[in-house]
């Protein structure tokens, strides 16, 4: 990865809104070619602000940002030609047909008539909307609208695609449908994609690397696997049989706490949570440690850490719903309504 081109470079980037709110506070990272990079964080963490800076919609108050080697402040139009932006809200016109939405987009990106038809067919094929292209968008289902929106972002063949909360407000089935098309982009178009999300499973299933962002700064950045590994290899959850005597349990606890593989044991009701570096490899050691004690286990289960646990670890809290402006809520609600509408 070291040799490949950096498609996105962000160095010590800050955005301070009038009134002193630090939306971004010294953020640095880079994204190499053909990577799907995820920005994970709750609402109000600074994800959208970061995307607005990278798409030239907002000027940073400090630091540097380059997209495909071009400074986002110095040459806005060149940056815009290089990127596709699919915003959080559905940015398609319901009153036009799918085809007209794509024609408009092609026009706004100065595409020649000659190649326009070819490209429109290509992206329609890619998002599976060929048959419905001539229908008005208000007859589309939520998933189809989002796919059309993504197609609009692809029409000028950008090298980088920004997907801001691509599945916000969609039902589970539709989310999986959208994931399928995003994975297809990765495999067929070999595009660099930066997506933001506050769904852990989304980041986990789509992204090669993930950055955890909270209150305007990056808390961690790595592959989902390594992030989870940093958390330890998992939990062994166990329960003793009712016949177990308290003094035997105490003895068992002392033995376990002396083992190298054990990081920590906590008790929740009659359930014990054992945090370890690798729960699968630790399991035989766990049984070995308890060997010889007259003690029956009622149940033992293994639990792998999820990105949720990672997020909790780095930010000290669950993904939360922050208060947002009324305007933003209106927009989110109205796009949710439009997304949910199915026919």
């Amino acid at each position: 990865m070291k040799d490949s081109r950096k498609m996105i470079e962000v160095d010590n980037l800050s955005v301070i809104y009038p009134g002193g709110i630090k939306a971004l506070d010294g953020v640095s990272f880079s994204v190499p070619e053909q990577e799907i990079f995820g920005l994970l964080g709750p609402n109000g963490a600074g994800k959208t602000t970061l995307i607005m800076v990278l798409t030239t919609l907002l000027a940073p108050t400090g630091g540097l940002a380059r997209v495909n080697g071009v400074d986002v402040i110095k040459d806005k139009n060149r940056v815009r030609m290089n990127l596709g932006y699919v915003s959080q809200e559905l940015a398609i016109d319901d009153e036009l047909t799918g085809l007209d939405n794509l024609r408009l987009q092609a026009g706004l990106y100065h595409m020649d008539h000659a190649i326009r038809h070819k490209r429109i067919d290509e992206v329609l094929e890619l998002v599976g909307l060929m048959e419905r292209a001539r229908d008005r968008v208000d007859t589309y289902s939520g998933g189809m609208r989002k796919r059309l929106d993504i197609a609009c972002g692809l029409i000028h063949r950008p090298e980088i695609l920004f997907l801001d909360e691509p599945t916000l407000g969609l039902d589970i089935q539709t989310r999986h449908e959208i994931w399928h098309y995003i994975k297809r982009l990765r495999e067929e178009v070999k595009m660099t994609i930066l997506l933001t999300t506050h769904y852990m499973d989304e980041a986990d299933s789509l992204c090669r690397r993930v950055a955890i962002i909270d209150r305007g700064s990056l808390k961690a950045i790595d592959t989902p696997e390594s992030l989870k590994k940093q958390m330890g290899g998992g939990l062994i959850v166990f329960q003793f049989d009712q016949s177990a005597r308290p003094e035997t349990i105490d003895q068992a606890m002392i033995r376990l706490k002396n083992q190298d593989f054990v990081r920590e044991i906590t008790q929740k009701d009659d359930e014990y949570l054992l945090l370890t570096d690798n729960s699968e490899e630790s399991l035989p050691l766990f049984f070995e440690a308890l060997d010889g004690l007259r003690l029956n286990l009622k149940k033992v289960t293994l639990k792998m850490p999820s990105l949720d646990d990672v997020f909790l670890y780095h930010t000290g809290r669950q993904l939360r719903e922050e208060s947002v402006s009324r305007e933003e809520m209106d927009r989110v609600r109205s796009s949710m309504r439009r997304l949910r509408k199915t026919r």
Binding site: M81, L96, L104, L108
Partner: protein, 264 residues
């Protein structure tokens, strides 16, 4: 491509979208025709009774109120089409479509220019419909087809002025309701202190003084000449120059508002 070509091409596609939307909305097209009919048939027929009486006709200085009113209704249509046109910015912002336009590689003034052009074309369509309706009611242009074409130009220019005002306001206003109340606050006094619907002869002196400098009057007087009396080159030139000047000043304001200020 030069920066200018990019700006104009961008404006063309914004224009194209607005026209596509307009032609897709059958109801909107129908209403844009029905509204002037209501004005002409209801208000026109009522007021025409006044000019049927030679004494009152002499008093208010108008021979045929319907002929007097046709240019007024044309200007009202231009006014409202233009002045409510900025609402599309508010809807685009709400829908999230504005972000897409702002992140496209076109200058921001293209958005304004495209929307203004679309409103001008809609206005010209409406004014043509009114001209046909008026003809059906026996009111024809003294200056014939060339007069109608010049009328379209004046109405288009007037709609462009009004859409500049509307876009300038909508750049900062976030809800349609607020825009409506601001616009009503601005337009109602403007309409009633102009000679669009009522002859200046019936106005009190102070309103007549305002009417003289009212932009609506500058637009409506030349058109009235084209309908009733014929080619009055003096008022025509004055009217068109003043409207053009007003449009240019307002467009520069819109240009800077769009290019320099925040639209989100």
């Amino acid at each position: 491509m030069t920066a200018m070509t990019i700006g104009l091409k961008g404006a063309y596609y914004i224009f194209w979208r607005e026209i596509k939307r307009f032609t897709g909305q059958k109801m909107r097209i129908l209403m844009s025709v029905v509204q002037p009919v209501i004005w002409l048939v209801l208000m026109g027929s009522m007021m025409a009774r006044l000019t049927d009486n030679p004494v009152t006709a002499e008093m208010i200085g108008v021979d045929n109120y319907l002929a007097f009113m046709v240019p007024g209704v044309m200007m009202m249509s231009s006014l409202y089409t233009g002045v409510f046109g900025g609402i599309s910015i508010i809807w685009d912002r709400r829908m999230g479509f504005l972000i897409k336009l702002l992140s496209a590689p076109i200058p921001r003034y293209s958005i304004a220019l495209g929307k203004i052009s679309a409103l001008v074309l809609q206005t010209m369509f409406q004014v043509s419909v009114i001209a046909i309706l008026a003809a059906a009611m026996g009111i024809t242009f003294a200056t014939g087809l060339p007069g109608i074409l010049v009328t379209l130009l004046i109405c288009g220019l007037f709609a462009a002025i009004m859409s500049c005002i509307s876009l300038f306001l909508s750049a900062s206003i976030r809800t349609p309701e607020t825009l409506f109340s601001v616009i009503n606050f601005l337009t109602l006094p403007l309409v009633f202190s102009s000679s669009a619907l009522f002859p200046t002869a019936v106005m009190p002196d102070w309103i007549r003084a305002i009417a003289r400098f009212n932009p609506i009057s500058y637009a409506v007087i030349p058109v009235r000449d084209l309908v009733i009396s014929g080619w009055e080159w003096g008022t025509l030139a004055t009217g068109i120059w003043l409207l053009l000047l007003m449009f240019l000043i307002l467009f520069v304001l819109v240009y800077y508002r769009f290019e320099k200020g925040s639209l989100l």
